[in-house]
């Protein structure tokens, strides 16, 4: 099965950057250009300005190429700047700072500015509206990978874009990327446990035999609490931070401990702490796993440095088994 065939198998896909300027736009354009011929495509973006980095680094706001009969949802302000012909199908009632959200179908190939709803709930609504117009596969120009817009509850699939913007050191780029991939590939809990946990109110739970709510809301207040009396298996609806894992790391027999979070976007652990915990046998699982389709690599940093892609891509591939693409060279490993 070639790469495009494996990629095509999604309903909603977000493209998220590991850092700013890791080539999200190139990745979007790359995927669209490979898919538009085979499937009905729609694209949109999360956030008023999906590319705040462009304001920071003063580079040009990137444009996405759309093709004939492709749908796109963008804001009024950006729609008005388009140079292509497009048929309007939908106009939202709510407004972003850049105006309402429009859904339109392009009548020809050309470039557009993509922006979108400012919240993930609204993004879901817009995707629903797009599918009411026509059944389509939707690609979302996502935010940074930590943000919940790239959570599997919004789009079930993801492409991670990484690149030279991350660091000047190849080792750093590899380490950061591999760590993020590891988080995205964390094991899912079994179906029975999923059913028990999915609808729970916000809080921290002990899930050893029965699901029991622990008497604190967040992990910020964990310092003075002896967690041993609550068992070894925990479910946290919010974010998982260093303190909680550090606390467990003071105990013995790490292999007894399992921490469950909603999805990878809830994990805010330093790489070293994650590695230490998992190497000692501790487990971190997720309720919902995102389907990581591929990793893209952008060899050029915004400052103009280029880091040779092949060796880096090979190392990442070796450590994670992921398909990795240099979208500039169209090199797939």
């Amino acid at each position: 099965m070639n790469f495009i065939d494996s990629l095509i198998n999604f309903e909603t896909l977000s493209v998220v950057g590991l850092e700013k300027n890791t080539g999200k736009t190139e990745t979007m354009n790359y995927i669209i250009s490979h898919l538009y011929d085979n499937v009905k495509l729609g694209i949109t973006s999360i956030g008023v300005d999906g590319e705040t980095s462009d304001i920071v680094t003063k580079t040009k706001k990137p444009e996405i190429t759309v093709y004939e009969n492709m749908y796109f949802a963008t804001t009024e302000k950006h729609f008005k700047l388009k140079k292509i012909n497009a048929e309007i199908f939908y106009l939202s009632r709510r407004e972003t700072p850049l105006g309402r959200i429009l859904i339109a179908k392009s009548n020809e190939k050309g470039r557009i500015l993509l922006s979108g709803p400012s919240t993930s709930v609204w993004l879901k609504d817009i995707m629903k509206e797009m599918n009411k117009i026509d059944k389509m596969k939707i690609i979302v120009d996502g935010a940074l990978s930590r943000v919940s817009s790239s959570s599997p509850s919004i789009t079930e699939s993801v492409i991670l874009s990484t690149g030279a913007a991350l660091s000047l050191s190849a080792k750093n780029i590899i380490d950061k990327t591999v760590y993020k991939i590891k988080l995205m590939k964390l094991e899912e809990v079994n179906d029975a446990l999923f059913d028990d946990l999915i609808d729970l109110d916000d809080g921290v739970y002990s899930v050893d035999e029965k699901v029991k709510k622990m008497p604190f809301k967040t992990l910020l207040s964990i310092k003075n609490i002896d967690i041993d009396k609550y068992g070894y298996n925990y479910y946290i609806t919010g974010v998982l931070n260093n303190n909680f894992v550090k606390k467990i790391l003071t105990k013995k027999h790490m292999e007894k401990y399992t921490i469950i979070v909603k999805d990878y976007t809830k994990i805010f652990l330093d790489k070293s702490i994650f590695e230490k915990f998992t190497k000692l046998g501790g487990k971190i699982k997720v309720l919902q796993k995102i389907d990581l389709k591929a990793v893209t690599y952008n060899p050029i940093s915004p400052e103009g440095f280029t880091i040779e892609s092949r060796p880096i891509m090979e190392k990442i591939k070796k450590k994670t088994g992921m398909t990795i693409i240099d979208v500039k060279k169209d090199l797939i490993l």
């Binding site: 009024e76 008005k80 012909n85 497009a86 048929e87 309007i88 106009l91 009632r93 020809e108």
Partner: protein, 454 residues
């Protein structure tokens, strides 16, 4: 008015109205400020007509059509002042017409307040391909020139010559031609602004009427008959009724009549004076909005203004002491009544925070000054010794004393008769201590209290 809606629990039912569009909601916002007599009449007629002429089965499809319509009042208002509308505005108008036409198909011609003719002629301006869709763009069909330019553009795209300077010229030409077309379309649409606005307002009314009818049916509200008196049968407060129903408690609907002369209502604690007067105020307020009312029969008078001093008046927002806030509010009502306005004044235990002697004097003064005026005055009080010769005196029947042995803290609600009876002596039933006993207050305490009572 907003304060009144809150104090009388009118908000409780009005906030449950579900509009399919912002248009209906906006229409209701205007009504919520209170209506003139003529407008009240119109609203009641309109609602009646809606129930007569509207089949329930079509409501769902109409609601769905309306829900697709955006509030384009601003766009419509500005058509005339604009030289050219943009594509988005044209889409809004086309989308509006498309879904209006779906609504139109279902309308009964006899319902002339909301019926409109099918705007196909306007729609066709924005549908040159005649494909009857709600979507829009500047179609090739609008001009041969545009079509030619676009064909040229396609050739460049096909041959990957989009960076060519000629291509940029073509885009420029395309934009110029599109602008001409948009100007022409705008001119054509301008001829129809009156019709567009008319349809817009009719749909707003329709959206409002649907939301209103749903609340009326949910609570079995009744059409009020406009007369020059207040005569109510079996009134109820929807909020309290809902609470009682969910707690499986009994709810007694009561009758009430307000004559020209001031009325004083007395009654012991827990006798429902506050709830009953609140409900009367609620009914008066709902009438002021042209709404149906929570009663089984309602003859009502229209009042220019309504004053309601609520029994559960908490700390007031102006930072005055509760007595100061209260007396200033009463004064406002008093001055308006003295000026001869037809207003309704409902005061639930006025001056209750002051001493009974002065409190009684204040109530007597109000009645004495206002009995000959056009206003209607209803006062509840705890104070004994009110003479008020010019007032009709009523009291709540209260505790069913004959069944006193069966009553306890849990069932007390079932042993209070909340209905009003005339009582010329304005007796205050001395039941506070009995009720305290039922509620399980310390025996010694009760005994001593009775000793002091003599």
């Amino acid at each position: 008015m907003r304060e009144l809606l809150k104090k009388t629990n009118a908000d409780y039912i009005l906030n449950q109205m579900i509009f399919s569009s912002n248009m209906g909601k906006k229409y209701f916002q205007k009504i919520k400020k209170g209506l003139s007599f003529k407008e009240v009449e119109e609203q009641i007629q309109l609602t009646e007509k809606f129930f007569d002429l509207f089949e329930k089965e079509i409501i769902i499809s109409i609601k769905s059509a309306i829900s697709h319509i955006n509030d384009i009042e601003n766009t419509l208002f500005h058509i005339n002042s604009k030289e050219v509308l943009d594509e988005i505005e044209m889409f809004e108008i086309k989308n509006f017409l498309y879904f209006s036409m779906r609504v139109q198909k279902k309308l009964n011609k006899e319902f002339n307040e909301i019926y409109f003719e099918n705007p196909t002629d306007i729609f066709s301006i924005l549908d040159p391909q005649n494909n009857e869709l709600h979507s829009f763009f500047i179609y090739d069909e609008y001009s041969d020139k545009l079509k030619n330019i676009r064909n040229q553009k396609k050739e460049f795209q096909k041959n990957n010559l989009t960076e060519n300077s000629e291509y940029i010229d073509i885009i420029k030409k395309e934009k110029e031609e599109e602008f001409k077309i948009k100007m022409d379309l705008t001119k054509k649409l301008k001829n129809h602004t009156t019709t567009l606005l008319e349809i817009f307002y009719k749909i707003a009314i329709l959206d409002f009427l649907i939301a209103k009818s749903e609340i009326i049916e949910k609570y079995n509200l009744i059409k009020p008959i406009l007369t020059n008196k207040i005569k109510l049968e079996k009134i109820f407060n929807p909020k309290v009724l809902d609470i009682h129903v969910s707690n499986k408690k009994r709810y007694q609907k009561i009758d009430f009549e307000l004559e020209d002369k001031p009325t004083i209502i007395t009654g012991s604690n827990m006798s429902g004076k506050t709830l009953s007067t609140k409900t009367i105020a609620l009914i008066a307020v709902l009438l002021k909005l042209g709404f149906y009312v929570p009663a089984e029969k309602a003859e009502l008078k229209y009042f220019e203004n309504i004053y309601y001093l609520s029994g559960d008046l908490g700390a007031n927002d102006k930072g005055l002491s509760s007595y100061a806030g209260e007396i200033k509010y009463i004064n406002k009502a008093f001055i308006e009544a003295k000026n001869g306005n037809e207003i309704l004044i409902i005061l639930d235990e006025p001056a209750r925070t002051t001493n009974p002697k002065e409190g009684t004097a204040i109530i007597e003064a109000l009645i004495d000054e206002l009995y000959s005026k056009k206003c209607s005055l209803l006062i509840t009080t705890h104070y004994p010794n009110i003479i008020a010769e010019n007032a009709k005196k009523m009291r709540v029947k209260g505790l069913m004393r004959e069944k006193i042995s069966e009553i306890n803290e849990k069932n007390i609600n079932n042993f209070i008769d909340y209905s009003f009876i005339e009582d010329e002596k304005a007796n205050i039933p001395e039941e506070a201590i009995t009720i305290a006993e039922i509620l399980g207050v310390d025996e010694e305490f009760i005994k001593t209290a009775r000793k002091f009572l003599g």
